[in-house]
Symmetry: C2
Amino acid sequence: MPPETLTAERILETTEEVLRRYGPAKATVVDVARALGVSHGSVYRHFRTKAALREAVTQRWLDQAHAELSALAEDGGRPAQARLRAWLEALFAAKRRKAGGDPELFATYMALTEEHSSVVAEHVAVMVGLLTRIIRDGAAGGEFAAGDPEAAAQAVWDATVRFHDPAYAAEWFTPGIDAAFSAVNDLILRGLRA
Amino acid sequence: MPPETLTAERILETTEEVLRRYGPAKATVVDVARALGVSHGSVYRHFRTKAALREAVTQRWLDQAHAELSALAEDGGRPAQARLRAWLEALFAAKRRKAGGDPELFATYMALTEEHSSVVAEHVAVMVGLLTRIIRDGAAGGEFAAGDPEAAAQAVWDATVRFHDPAYAAEWFTPGIDAAFSAVNDLILRGLRA
DNA sequence: GCGCTGACAGATTTCAATATCTGTCAGCGC
DNA sequence: GCGCTGACAGATATTGAAATCTGTCAGCGC
């Protein structure tokens, strides 16, 4: 059906399928090439290394999350407190959805996290950037204490680590996690208030 | 030199030495027995399984931390805010000291954490209990908002996970960690205030 | 009697031989 | 010319046989 030209995009789609089927430990570049009906040399024409290929898949996957969360962060109309709470809830919900619905891709993302990949570092930077925007808005509007918004955003990120770091994914499906999450949320929001 | 009677205590001391020397992955019950100059059957006379032996070593090791932190938590004379800050700082300092000074024993503790050992669960419960005491005192004295002190203590524990969960030990020695730690501390303390 | 030993079964780990994979590149064929 | 192939070297993973370990227990010796 698709003997079309081999593009980076088509390789990424197939790599996702292969990762979903075999998991990050078993999926090989040869598997991807086989699924595409090409030699593995052709894959290396588009991605210099296997690590680069995995990073690109993760990048693509993380970018989906950015769209939704950007929208929430930029909605300047709503009070910053409500926006921050909604943002943190959306983040947790998205992560939980990914962890439960795409376990193999999520495992890939976890592996990258442990490798200190620049893609993950970039993702964290973007996320903290979105938090910074909300907190800056809140400080400008008098809702939040006017300190260093960037430092505050980093502190919020650090304090909610248990609810977005993939290392804790196993705990996201245990009873009581929602109560724990809102308790931390409340604490943080009170801490930010002017 | 010590052909004295074989006691649980003597076994634990030797197990610590063996763990320090070989690390949790390599240390075996046979190694411990050899170091003690007895057969490994004798070790099983005092500890039913290898897991029980490792748990006991970890227990002993965690108990050292309890003493210092208990004293800080119970010093009713000082303001709760200062006490909480000092407690969290002492916790972080102690963990960091253990991680750096006793890497092999720390790895054992980490392995147990991943196994969901009851010893670690118990340790966490004790720690949250100490936090609860400080927060309850603070609420009674009007320093902290009077909510559910136990839930608040759990939230504080969760929000500081990055600074006491052994999974993050590698980050405890990176530059900027102290600033991140005090930013989270400040956020939490502001959040607790009445 | 009582604590220890040491042999044992089954589970786990180690090790080395083998197979597979990653990344490169000369050259084929459109 | 240009994108793809497929053979190749070195690195990594798999496999199965051998070694070691865990946990048990009958019996030795003090």
